[in-house]
Structures are given as structure tokens and as C-alpha cells.
Symmetry: C2
Subunit: 416 residues, 2 copies
């Protein structure tokens, strides 16, 4: 408001990996920035599954946005949900206000994709945000409390059957962590239960887990999961779930009270309001400079953007969002300076997943690792990527504690 | 179920300070114990206000009951809410089952007492359980987000006015912690707000705060709060609150969106179903051995019990519950051995309250302390009382972090 009228106003929607990186990339620019998010925190999504499985608390992986940007003087945070964007008037429409922009970065991320399975959407648990993770944690712990005093064997088994749908990193990591929560921690505390009645099933529609990994690491992953008492069911498609019975294609039915849906992701629904070209995952198709073709002052990055690279659309993962944020910020500066824009090129940083204690798979360039070495690399990378020192340190201490004492301390049922 | 029929069954309702202590006091007894609680965790209530004010996470002060008792082989935990007790049949009635007992310990604790002010109960925030504390945290943080973009000055001031009712330890500690959250942390992040518009008011109906303390420490407390920009209003009674306007006796009205009610506590409602003698705070009147006079196999302890000592009923505080748990457990063993019962005598352990950084008051016997010394004692005592090592250590680290960096990291709005 006190700024001179000529200072350009950049609005960034979304405080995820992409949005935060774009804010930082513009820290030295002579611009005003407004960062908008419906939550007041940045979320470290790759560790959400550790909240669901009672290793970490929410504040270990969620960090107040205002605390992250307080050193940067050219940015204001505004908490609010964006309803739509008026490209004509260059205005972002919130429920209670409109925010004008000169340049816009859309970094709204992804949401769970149920592929039109309405009943599954209603009765299963997504795992894309903090509330969902806490809900899963509460639900799993509650199933054990109810099973402990359930006399009916069938009902008890349905409470002790946990289905995870989707063999990507989220599904694999959740299955491994859930196995360890149940067999290493809960088994020592529920003396009245027979843990032979517990089932953990990982269901995947394709014929492999961790599709981005080399075949030998996929095999290692499946073997490790099986050793952890996870039934891995490949080439199996979910057709329906009514809250008590999961139906699979071909007629199989599994009675269960818990289905965790990690089988798909699509772009957040804001893009659906914009009358722009979208792909199957509802992502906005952008040009080589990450602009919307019809609106060169609007950039789309991360899970919200469809960008073809080497003949295939880029995956919806954090490294893509971070790399695109840098280029979008750079290109806004180029536009202001009336200089030529930079084309986006993607650097593949590889992928990794942890399956449990001393067990992970890592693939970077020609490097393929598994077992303890991969697990140590995974731990180190995730600790270093956690944003501030305190979180790093607390998370590290919690992991050490859990590793040494086979304990999980966030086993608190907060809502029922 | 596999136990021999002659082993006596002791049911303990409530996993608070009293219930957990009673379980431990019976660890070597040849009995079966069932511990029942509606939550799956033990809550360290004295630090609830640090959850409300974003210093600690829920799992720092809540600990899974099953983890606490897993070493003790004669006890089972059952999560469930007790509807009533059938003294005739010696049976505890849950929603889905009945649990027979030979001896019963009622340790159901306290709930917020609104003294019949229905509108206040509906619109203000209690602070006796974990969900309430998280709700307060979310609400306070949300008020700042809304105020930051509120153009109407009156509406903005109402969002920035925080009323705490009740000058006991909870009210005083909440007011001090809220002041530091706002003036030391939030003030550095909400650049568009004028913090002169913030009001924190502590309202107390009597003419003093911390009634159990010596007069000079009461004065120190009020002075410290005033220095922290807390308005301390003594001899003021709340008559109504509709969610937007707080009415005080005499006609004064304060526009505010936040009223935290720490003005009263009464026994949990289970006792109201039992047709027994209760005091004004709904506590069960017990005899000198802590039994219900008409039911000598039923003991009541802690906040649920009314026990006259030195001419006055004992206060509803943790040390009373813990001391009574020991005597109730002892007396059950005496009953089983057909030996004479032990009379309860109370050892006053003093009281303490912290008002903020380097500021606390401590009263133990003839010792009266204030300032840094009192604050160090307060910190040490609370760290030592936190149940397990990990919590102790994490809480200690968080306190050190906050002290050094004037930061609060649990500022996460989880629900709206």
C-alpha cells in the first residue's frame, strides 16, 4: 500500500514446494508479492504418511508460512481460498475480496483422484493433506481399541484388515510404516488380540509397484513388503467400497473398515474454473516458458502444470515444482526487463522410497541402492529437506527414539 | 478371562493423574485390573495452556495409556465411555457392554463449570481437554489471519480482543503465554497490523488472582501481567456472551470474538447418574477412607471426590488425586486382607504458576519465590513430572528453542 505505484505486484497462489520456492526466487526483485494459501502452513507432504502412522506430529511436517517469509520484506501472506481468476481484469477472486495482479503464479498443487468412484471417495481415506492424515491415524488406532473387545470374529477381522490402494511411493511407504506400527508396536500392547487376525493388503492396478524405479528395485520392494507381512496384490482393480466391503474387479470382496486411497492424484480444482486447456489429470497445459498460452502474464507450475518433456508429461512430484518455480520467477523478471524468456528443462533427480527399518530403495542416475545404505540416504535426504533446524532436529530425535525403542509416541486419538 | 475365578477384579474409571497412580499402586497386588477411559491417552493437564498458545504439540502432553501400562501384567485398558454404574450388581455400564467389578475406583476428574451460563458455555472456549486446547489455538491464529485483512476498524478490534475469564493458575498462565505469543512472536510477522489494537483482558470475579497464594505473590502476579500488556480486571463478573459481545455485571460490554473460560471446574457428569451425595461442584462426598459411605467397595478420588480436610474441602488439583490414589489402592488391599483401613491425610505440596519468560511465583511451606528463581523451579518441576523421557526431552528442547528464538512453532491452523 505504501509502495510506489510502479512496483509490479506478483500474486502466487499456493504455499507448497513450488509457491515457497517462487517467493524465495523473487526475494531480491523490486516487486510486491502476495502469497495466498487456504492454510496458514507449508506442508512437507512426503512425510504425511508418518503422521498417519503415528511417528511424527503435525508440527514436525507443517510450518507456519509467516514464519518462513518473515525475513523477506517484499512479500505479504494472505490466508484464503481462491474461488477463481478473472484473467480479463487480472484479478484473483477470494471469497471476501479480489486481489489484482500484474503477474500470477499458479502453484495450487494436487488433490486425491478417485477416478469417478464416488462410493470410494466417500468411504475411503485420502492422504494428501494434514487433516486426512490425522483422520487416518485416529481411525487406525480406534479400530484396534474396538477390535480388542469385539467378540464377533468376522467383525473383529474386518476391523483388523487394512487396505492400501496404490503402489506408488505413498502406498508403499504407508504399507511399510503401518506394518511396523502394528507388528512392532501395537502387538506388544494389545494382549487380548491375536495378531494373526491382522491383514495389511497393498492393492495395485498395474503389474508393478514404484513404476518410476528399475525392475530390480521394484522386486526388492515387493519382497521387503511381503517380509513385513504386507500382502501385495498386483493387477487388481478396485471397483467399489461401501465402508464395510471392498469390491475388486472380477468379483472378489474383502470385508474391511479401512481403505486408504493412494492410487491417484489430480490438479486442485481451481483450474477447472478457468476455461483453459487441461489434461486428463486436470492439469493446465503450459508452453515451454511455463505460461498459459493465452495469458502470458500467468505461469503455472508443479502439480498444477502439464509439461511435456522428452515425449512424456512430467510426474507430479516436488522436484518438478521446485525447478519450475525457479524458471517461472526468472521469466517474470525477464518479462519485466523486456528480455527473452528461458525455456524450462527438467533435471531428473531420481527417486527413493523407504519401506521400513533399514529398508529403502534409491534410484539416482545410474545408482541403484537398496537395504541399509538406501535407508540411510533416504533418512539423510529427508532430514536435510525439512525446512528449519528445529523440525530437523525434533524429527531426527523421534526417528532415533522409534528406531531404538520400537515405540511410536503420537498414538493419540484426537477425534472420533 | 484365563485368570482363576478367585482373583479379585478392580475397575478404575479414568486414566488421569489419580487413575494412573492407582494402577501403579496396585502393580504388585494379586488382582486383575481394568482401566477404563474415554480417551486412549493420559493427559498432562497442567500444560494444556501451552498447546492453546502454540508452544507444545498434543503428543508432548498426551501419552498413550497402553504404552504407560505395557510393563504391568495385571492390567488391561479399555477405551470407552461409562454411562453409569449399577452398584447393586457391581457393574460398570458402558455404551456397548457391562464390566463387573469387585472393587471400583472412580477417578473421572473434572470438567469446565459455567455456573449455568448457557450462552457463555455455547460461545466461549473451555480449556480442560486436548480438543478444546487445539480449538483455542486454531481460533486465536485464525483471528489474526482475518484481522490482517479486515478493513472495518471495529470488527478488527473485536478480532484482536482476547478475554480470559478466571484468575486461577490456568487463567494466569494462559494470559501470560498468550501475551508472549502475540507481542513477542506474532508482532514480528503481521506487518500490516497495528498491535496497539490488541487487547488481552484477564477477568476475575473475586478481588485477587491465584487465591491459594500469599498476598505478596498475588501482587507480583498482577504486576507481571500488567507489564505484559494484560489488563487485569478484578471484582468483575461475567453475565453473558453471545459470541460477539461479552457482558459484565454493571452493564459494561466488550466486543470480542474470543472468550476463554477458565473460571470454574466441577466433577465429570458420571457422578450425577449415581444418586449419591454431591457437593456444589458435583463432587461425590466420601468418608475418611475415600469410600462412598453406602458402598464401601467403591472409592472416589481426585477431582471427583469431596473430602473435607482441616475444615475445608480439598482443591481440585493433581497432588490431591495422586495422594488419594495411593490411599484408595492401599485400602482395597486392606479390604481384601480384611485388615483395618487407612484414613486419608493430605500433605500440602504448595502451588506455583508461571506468567512467562523468567517470571513465575512459587509457594511451598514457608518458601515464597518469584522471578527467575521461581521460573527455574517451575520449569524443572514440570519437566520432571512429564511422564516419559522422550516427552521430557522434546518439551525441554522446545522450551529452550522458544526462549532463545522468540518463536512458537506449533502455529498450525488445523481446522476452521
Amino acid at each position: 500500500m505504501q509502495e510506489q505505484p510502479k512496483t509490479k505486484h506478483i500474486v502466487i497462489i499456493g504455499a507448497g514446494f513450488g509457491g515457497i520456492r517462487a517467493v524465495r526466487a523473487l526475494s531480491k526483485a523490486d516487486v510486491r508479492i502476495t502469497l495466498i494459501d487456504k492454510h496458514n502452513y507449508h506442508l512437507f507432504q512426503p512425510l504425511l504418511y508418518q503422521v498417519s502412522t503415528a511417528t511424527l506430529s503435525i508440527d514436525d511436517i507443517a510450518y507456519p508460512v509467516r514464519a518462513m517469509i518473515k525475513q523477506q520484506k517484499n512479500v505479504h501472506f494472505r490466508m484464503g481460498e481462491v474461488n477463481t481468476i478473472d484473467f480479463e481484469r487480472k484479478s484473483v477472486i477470494l471469497a471476501t475480496a479480489a486481489v489484482a495482479y500484474d503477474y500470477l503464479i499458479i502453484a495450487t498443487g494436487g488433490v486425491t483422484n478417485y477416478f469417478g468412484l464416488k462410493a470410494v471417495e466417500k468411504n475411503s481415506f485420502g492422504m494428501k493433506n494434514l487433516d486426512e492424515s490425522v483422520t487416518i491415524r485416529n481411525h487406525i488406532l480406534h479400530q484396534f481399541e474396538l477390535a480388542a473387545y469385539e467378540q464377533d470374529r468376522d467383525k473383529r477381522r474386518a476391523r483388523l484388515t487394512f487396505i492400501i490402494v496404490g503402489g506408488g511411493p505413498t502406498g508403499v511407504e504407508s504399507a511399510g510404516a503401518l506394518s511396523e506400527l502394528i507388528y512392532l508396536v501395537m502387538a506388544r500392547e494389545y494382549h487380548t488380540l491375536n495378531f494373526k487376525e491382522v491383514r495389511i493388503v497393498l492393492v495395485e492396478a498395474s503389474d508393478k509397484v514404484l513404476a518410476a524405479m528399475p525392475a530390480e528395485l521394484q522386486e526388492t520392494t515387493v519382497e521387503t513388503l511381503i517380509r513385513k507381512h504386507v500382502e501385495v496384490r498386483l493387477c487388481v482393480q478396485v471397483t467399489d467400497y461401501d465402508g464395510e466391503r471392498l469390491s475388486l474387479k472380477g468379483g472378489e470382496v474383502i470385508p474391511t473398515r479401512t481403505v486408504i486411497w493412494a492410487a491417484g492424484i489430480k490438479a486442485a480444482p481451481l483450474l477447472d474454473t478457468l476455461h483453459i486447456e487441461q489434461d486428463q489429470a486436470r492439469r493446465a497445459v503450459v508452453n515451454e516458458f511455463l505460461q498459459l498460452p493465452a495469458h502470458p502474464d500467468v505461469f503455472v507450475i508443479g502439480d498444477a502444470a502439464h509439461y511435456e518433456y522428452a515425449g512424456r508429461p512430467l510426474p507430479m512430484i516436488a522436484p518438478v515444482a521446485i525447478q519450475q518455480a525457479d524458471v517461472a520467477a526468472k521469466n517474470i523478471k525477464q518479462l519485466m526487463a523486456e528480455k527473452p524468456l528461458e525455456k524450462f528443462t527438467y533435471k531428473d533427480v531420481g527417486s527413493m522410497a523407504t519401506i521400513g527399518r533399514n529398508a529403502a530403495v534409491v534410484h539416482m542416475g545410474h545408482l541403484k541402492l537398496k537395504g541399509v545404505a538406501a535407508w540411510l540416504i533416504w533418512s539423510l535426504v529427508h532430514i536435510l529437506r525439512l525446512i528449519d533446524f528445529r523440525n530437523r532436529f525434533v524429527v531426527f530425535m523421534k526417528w532415533v527414539w522409534e528406531y531404538m525403542f520400537y515405540d511410536r509416541l503420537v498414538r493419540i486419538i484426537t477425534r472420533q
